[in-house]
Subunit: 276 residues, 6 copies
């Protein structure tokens, strides 16, 4: 993978076909300013179509935090519009929110599976980002919270939209969103927000790398189709998703990966798949 | 909060900005007759727009039951129509069910968060009501059941509609709805139907009050927006809810609560928010 | 129930009003060829309208497997079309997938509740079938996997569509679908994929029979309405399902089962319901 | 039909089973103030369940106008909230709009068909109301307009929601909504907004009465079901509406009206149907 | 095309790749009995996958009628169930309606475009069938009506579901459905129910054949994709249909038909396309 | 409006607050190559947020064509992917189509109303673009066609998705899409595809300018809200759009434009609105 330098993110290749994205502003607990979320989209859009990438891991740089959320200075609603008219300010705010949402949604739109490692402070935007990811792993010391009501607003970058769809316990979802209280990794595991807890950040990264590496050995046609079809299912009826699936696979199944995968299965060899 | 007297409900104010609604027909295990569900809507509609209320707790009066469900006399389908024509009876029944549904849905439509304390017998209508609430807490002795098939009908006041959306374990949901068997608080906690279990009714009420009080200290703009957006997300695609969220917050974020909340956060003081 | 002989399925009546369907190709670990999934639809469509059936149990014949999934020979994508044109092959594949989906969906469309006992190897198609069932029980030794990515394709017969709707833990759903790893009964119970685990296949069948028998004692009008309304709720908004429910029950509630069920409740007798 | 006196509406019975509702504030061109739209809902809700009513006609009293729209005094947005906080004002406005929408939607929710006669000035709210009606007739002199942009706001009581669904010419719909220009009856007929044009108000009322009387001779089970199913179709997929239709008619078809209607058809007599 | 004999339909091949289906019970004005609609599905399902068919024309045999609708004897609701229980009768009726709907929907599900020639009496079921077709042509003498309310029921085989989606004049749609009045070809053309009117049945068949023949010269990949995507659009949001379209064409565009069609365009020759 | 130079488009300001976009490749009948549709998005995105623009007109440069559609060289499907694997080619094609769709959809997403003047050859992409516009005007000599089936493919850039939603005559929509035949301005007017026909290109531009100028005099808050709400209505149920409308206007109505517009109405003066 051709290396590329970003201002607020480190992108490395810990294993073949696996990219590791680190939010890199550790001195500020990886808190986000506008330039960061715009760059996050640049990073994710590039990985999405990079044929050398088959799985992505996201974590924060440093020991303290995945991210403490929005940097206070970035939360300057006043500066978004210089009009005093409520409707004109509303229009400017709406555009601002949409651009912010689009940036974070790039994690979900990435065609390759994304594994999110939540460690240390994982507040506000951390939940928005992680609900866009496909798989969530937390460290034992993670401090998680849907923090937005504590600064006087309803979370608007995706948490309230996606959290009810990734966790099947609406009573818990509402409680943590309405109260903004901090919850830990064990609670997150119990309710199904994360699917694994590791003792340390390193152990969590190792676990993420293990899953990512496993996924990277599979047919990328199969893996990327699986991600797409699962996300489609989340938002559609069963009938609609079955129909979409049939059309999707009418092309995808014509891949040579099926034969290669089957042969490898019979020969107990490791299949090699063309890039995608 | 101006006190108001109801026939079947006690409404009190256990803490500032917190209302406590008690179903008050304990001698009948708080079983519902038609006048009760109509009055429930009156109660909830009033709390919904009462600026002195920021969180609501619902429980049953007495030690025995949240509610044992529909009172048998109220289940008199025969009396709904005096026609012998199947279609005309059907029309009358449909109107009756819709009015009943509307009454119970007032718990969901209440703009303020509702915490439901399920204690003792919590059968039939108890599940309909509690799935409309935002947060569910049960006492250790709670006897819960989707009881309707035992009286020959499919639950039609909301349980079958909402239970699959508040609990992410469809196998369990179907089992309890098809079998009408009683389940306890621990099981309810394990599958995610309730998010907390307390030893006694008093302990459960204390836990509810603790959450309600916490929520009541937050910005009502943020809290009420959070409830609305979570409920919207339940019924819409991610794309649709992100769009709705952007429009919602284009007005909501212009509130002075954001500044007040942030200042209080920095100054470690308790913010005071204008009524809503 | 009039007995009927099938080639790949054994259908028996272990208790009144309870049908037991066994996938019967144990020498091949109950792996599916095309004739089998077509016959499965024949079996389920017949049970769906058979008035002597009120609940259905599905398991595999033999000790080794519910089903090991698709038989390799059936996976011959090449043979589906004799054209070399990609679009024409796609059209043929799409028709093939739709017919396959329709066959498996017959388990979901069956008007009577279906309880699925997953035992031994329960791979690929086993998950497609079981997510169509209403209630899932696993044996302690069950080896479960969404196996499709291992043969180079995204699962297209229903698993990716229905699994996110029966299990409310999207991180786990994605992990097992993307990695194709095997998971066991305890894990399936913890995340809510199955609602019960039994030590042995016999114990699991006994548990299934117990639930089936209980359901079979209830009003079939109430039971079948409950299944329909729960499945409707999964795919619709709350408002839509409440409306549908009102119309559904405007006819269903006019049944004599309500009176019979209530009387039996008062008299502590066992109600007898007309066939449906 | 028991006569009932309203403040802003005249309700009469020009023919058996036909109600005529007149907006009665002719001295103000039937412009609406808040008390009027609240009363409109009272009127329509009563007609909806009145068994002596099978079809409803709506027109304006006097020669000049169906309605000139919202009375300027009622458009006092300032008075809706006494808070200066944008979010709190927004909350009050939202509640106000919803109540207003609910009032006008009562015309659509009326279970009996509603025929709207648009005559003279038919501006703003006239379009909101008429798009809720089932059948629209205009007089040759009608002056129609989606007038709201001329007072600085997007129409929010239903026109922008329903007009694209009652007229299949999106270019025209957008042009009249964006420009607020007045259009006449012939244009309305050509694009399909109205289905008939009459020379005078009286001729239009006669035409409406002719249709209403014809509808009133039909089975009310059939007529009311037809209205419900057409409105359902507007908002749902074909598959969803076919499913809903099947359930609806599973009760409705059991009516004795079918036999009566068929017999009358054979015997060339006029059928008499039980009230609904 | 291999000829096949049906009982109630004549299927011929008036031109290469064009099938003509005639409803063949002229002595009864082509009125439908149950065996007919079941056979219609057999006919359409066969044409749908017949590679020698690229367009289908439907008309009635004889001069008098496309179809006069349901045969009275087939409308025997009584005979559908031998139970006296309302709910059990409702269940039987619902199954009956669904099977009937499925039969007629086969016209819509046919993968090849269907052109419907409405001539003479075209009542009730004629509208159900024609709204399933892609293109509608009427003869000048056609007598059309949504006739169902005249026999005491709301049309339930598709008219009320599809008519509002094929005609963008909701006022007219409601008027003809609620009044059951007969309308002629010119009116049908004006409101957009049919797209062409011909003087005689033969002229209408000629016009249909001309369109069918034209369509049959085009790439079947392009034509069948166009039908599928237009029907998808009718039932989905713009965003959803764009997404579905992209997946559909990701396979379809790989066809050699594109090159052939382009070459033919340049060389002014008639392209030949492989069967589909 | 700051002038900006584009390669394939001329953007001018024929009147205050009105932008005119001309597709500028007249020597090739304004046929599109990839660089053009990418630049179209750049143009539209800029106009969308340009406060000096309140309405946009789109036409082709030169006398001959709005656009003859896709340039043949741009239709090179072969070059999209260098893989021979069907699935990998499909993935590349899908990305290509989505980017193309996104580019054209910028016309719909433009927050300001867009008026499209169709003149001369208006084939293929001309229909995709014009169905994204809000208002369509044609010249008497316009030659319109959904041309894609003639090059072997189903239109995939939006026509098949949007045409059924802008024209309420599904029979006609299907006929022109399936046959690729050319239709003229009068036919387009009759079926409601365009809302106006002008004799010459200049007359059409004058008509467009007249509407654009009229719209530009209105409150931009009202106009832009009207466009947004009409587009929302197209894709949502009535209930959903009413809810969205209430939230939208809860901010928008707080604008000072309402007061200014009302005052101007009373004083018969021309209101001046702040930019948006």
């Amino acid at each position: 993978m051709a290396s590329k330098t970003y201002t607020y993110f480190i992108v490395s290749t810990p294993a073949p076909f696996v990219a590791h994205v680190e939010i890199n502003r550790p001195q500020k607990l990886n808190a986000f300013i506008e330039a960061m979320w715009l760059e996050l989209k640049t990073v994710m859009d590039a990985l999405s179509v990079n044929p050398d990438v088959r799985a992505v891991i996201i974590s924060g740089a440093g020991d303290k935090a995945f991210t403490a959320g929005l940097d206070v200075e970035a939360a300057n609603i006043q500066g978004i519009s210089d009009s005093n008219d409520v409707a004109r300010r509303a229009a400017a705010i709406k555009r601002h929110i949409q651009e912010f949402q689009d940036s974070i949604s790039s994690v979900e739109k990435c065609e390759k599976p994304v594994i999110c490692v939540l460690h240390g402070y994982s507040l506000g935007l951390a939940i928005d980002i992680s609900t866009c990811a496909d798989i969530r792993i937390a460290t034992a010391n993670a401090k998680l919270a849907v923090k937005e009501v504590d600064i006087g607003l309803a979370a608007d970058i995706g948490t309230l939209t996606r959290l009810p769809k990734v966790v099947g316990n609406f009573s818990w979802v509402k409680e943590v969103c309405l109260s903004a209280r901090i919850f830990g990794a064990e609670e997150a595991l119990r309710v199904g927000f994360v699917s694994q807890v590791a003792e340390t950040k390193q152990a969590a990264l190792d676990a993420a790398l293990k899953i990512a590496t496993l996924i990277a050995t599979k047919s990328p046609v199969a893996v990327q189709g699986t991600k797409e079809l699962l996300n489609h299912a989340r938002d559609h009826t069963v009938a609609d998703s079955l129909r979409y699936t049939g059309v999707w696979n009418s092309a995808a199944i014509q891949t040579s990966d099926v034969e290669r995968a089957m042969l490898s299965g019979l020969q107990k060899t490791k299949p090699r798949f063309e890039k995608l």
